[in-house]
Symmetry: C2
């Protein structure tokens, strides 16, 4: 088992702004992928994230302003069963986001790719909240020949 | 023990261009920190990377166009003894960079921060090689209230 870990801090004072970017379709479409549908604002709700090359379905496991957790239930085989966690907390003028993508069965080259790409999307989330504009798929920053 | 993993691909055809960005002072100053000194082009050479808040000394363990490895010998306590590896390989029109920062003794919040920050510096390396200009410290993209 191996994990992807990241940390950003968003310069906003209201934790609900960050929470809403994770728990509403409008929020998720603004930083991860424009093709997002489902019920991100409901425990046990399903969210469908789609990209040119495929996508993921997630089940909402935990939903509070301190912790949002999704379990991957369909899509890319290496992702199935893994858990994505967003821990939110205030620190001075920032909301800190501690991110984990846990439960990878093995360390693959694709896992390396996903680690870097998560950092890119976390910066997209930060840009959305601080400057009003993220870079969700298909406008996302490309990191390698995969995407 | 826990690891930080990343992957980028740089759109250049000559692997030596990527290698030189890791094995020369001019290269390292162009994407990681302008305050870099020492002997990056020599096995057992020491490299001193300095930032506003401190820095790291590394010993060059492995040095070839397929693999560059550094061991952290001084600086931030959480980094001491950890190993940073850069595996390079050609894939079509790209040079793929597989990055590992291995040997963290425990998973800390600072490790999460470093994971995201490494992604930022890898993108700086990519920009340097593809567009002629990276964003090394002190011009680096800030990700949180730490830096």
């Amino acid at each position: 088992m191996a994990d992807i870990l990241h940390r950003i801090a968003v310069k906003v004072t209201d934790i609900n702004l960050v929470y809403n970017a994770l728990a509403t379709l409008e929020g998720l479409r603004g930083w991860w992928t424009e093709d997002t549908s489902g019920n991100p604002g409901q425990v046990d709700g399903t969210i469908a994230f789609r990209f040119a090359a495929g996508g993921f379905d997630m089940r909402v496991k935990t939903l509070s302003t301190e912790l949002v957790q999704w379990e991957v239930i369909a899509g890319e085989p290496q992702w199935i069963g893994s858990v994505i966690s967003w821990q939110l907390k205030q620190a001075d003028d920032y909301i800190v986001v501690l991110f984990k993508h846990e439960g990878w069965k093995e360390v693959t080259e694709f896992m390396h790719h996903c680690s870097t790409k998560w950092a890119i999307f976390l910066m997209s989330l930060k840009d959305l909240l601080e400057n009003g504009k993220g870079a969700p798929n298909p406008h996302d920053v490309k990191i390698d020949e995969i995407n």
